[in-house]
Symmetry: C2
Subunit: 241 residues, 2 copies
């Protein structure tokens, strides 16, 4: 877990996290990484498209060496797949990989949320409720992109209180990966949105009531598992996109 920016350890340059990082990084490799990361998350590099070193080096106005390093970081973030002597390609929305990512995220986010629960302040709880209210308001005139953004913000409020930086980093990576996989579940399974909002409220109630660790973890994990299940149900029988 290379770095959670705000957190300790004299480790290296900012890995992943929030796409729109300040990037005070005075290193070309860092800039290349940030730039490519944003490019992938914003869909400027379509899934499956190749990332050619020399070409990117030209665009970014630098040599291939920093670009190469940036791509290897993206590889370890599982955002690109790499083949020796051939090159890198942006990962696509493989349903199997999606499942793996969601499972992993369910695990680490659930734990993280449960561990942070006692640390969440009253204001933050209030903020989370407001975000969820906005999500509910969006249900009528549904906009997957906006909804997904709010969803991310909602959960971030609940797990962002550090604790174990390793786990926090894993959560960030999972989210990054989902973001890169294109606009998330809700674009494919809009019917899941109302349940999701309802589960959010239940989760907040548990936290507010000071529920025990296991209960919160189970709820948070189940919440994500439900989203995954909804997606799988749509994909499996229907056939394809």
């Amino acid at each position: 877990m290379s770095a959670v920016p705000g957190a300790a350890r004299a480790s290296g340059p900012a890995t992943a996290r929030d796409a729109a990082a300040p990037a005070e990084s005075h290193s070309k490799a860092d800039r290349a990484y940030q730039s490519l990361l944003e490019g992938i998350q914003q869909g400027r590099f379509a899934p499956g498209s190749r990332l050619v070193l020399s070409q990117l080096a030209d665009e970014l106005g630098m040599s291939v060496v920093p670009v190469r390093e940036a791509i290897r970081r993206l590889q370890h973030d599982d955002l690109v797949s790499y083949e020796r002597n051939v090159g890198a390609t942006v990962v696509g929305i493989d349903p199997v990989e999606y499942q793996y990512t969601m499972e992993t995220l369910a695990l680490v986010e659930g734990f993280s949320t449960a561990q942070c629960a006692p640390l969440v302040t009253a204001e933050e709880l209030q903020r989370a409720r407001e975000i969820n209210a906005r999500m509910r308001a969006l249900l009528d005139d549904f906009d997957p992109v906006e909804f997904t953004a709010l969803n991310k913000e909602f959960h971030a409020t609940l797990f962002e209180h550090h604790q174990n930086p390793h786990i926090l980093d894993l959560v960030h990576r999972g989210w990054n990966r989902l973001t890169a996989l294109r606009s998330s579940t809700f674009a494919h399974v809009p019917g899941r949105a109302p349940e999701s909002v309802a589960e959010h409220d239940q989760l907040l109630d548990l936290i507010a009531a000071g529920a025990p660790f296991q209960e919160i973890e189970a709820a948070a994990r189940q919440h994500r598992a439900n989203t995954l299940a909804a997606y799988m149900d749509t994909m499996a029988p229907a056939g394809q996109h």
Copy 2:
């Protein structure tokens, strides 16, 4: 999760995993990575010691470029800490980092063990029992190194059945990190060994009985949490070293 060697995905060269990997890797960067990884795990590079690019390049008979890449991989495995324009140093046995690593491992290994439980064959269960028997035999004439090796083998038997390669990779990384942190808990807290063996048996019983997912996960997680707690108890009041 760059690669779980046997598993799918055209991803890159072997990251971490089993220290003694075959290393068919025809890439200098890969060889450098393997070499450094072993060096760290075997303690040839002491914690805190610096890893100088040019120096390592000479020893390995290659240029600095592949060495640099190898070190960045080690950095992302959290085995070295890196500072820009200064260099890399092997991570030491910081109790806080140890705690983080154990917590994370408790999480992912617990889940992995629970998910693999239904897939474990009768022979594997038998093998695990034999390993644990050898561990029990070792209790009288205690040897931390041997004990730790068996411990790793024991758990590996239980979680090695893939499932979600991402999570499996996280488990491997956790173990690698512990290995690098020098000969594990049992050297510091030998008193923990008997309990550990007993808990192993309980865990095997649960798996053999086909216990529900949550029960197995809780047991496996608790098993590791207990080890961590034993370590923390020894460290906290005692003071140092």
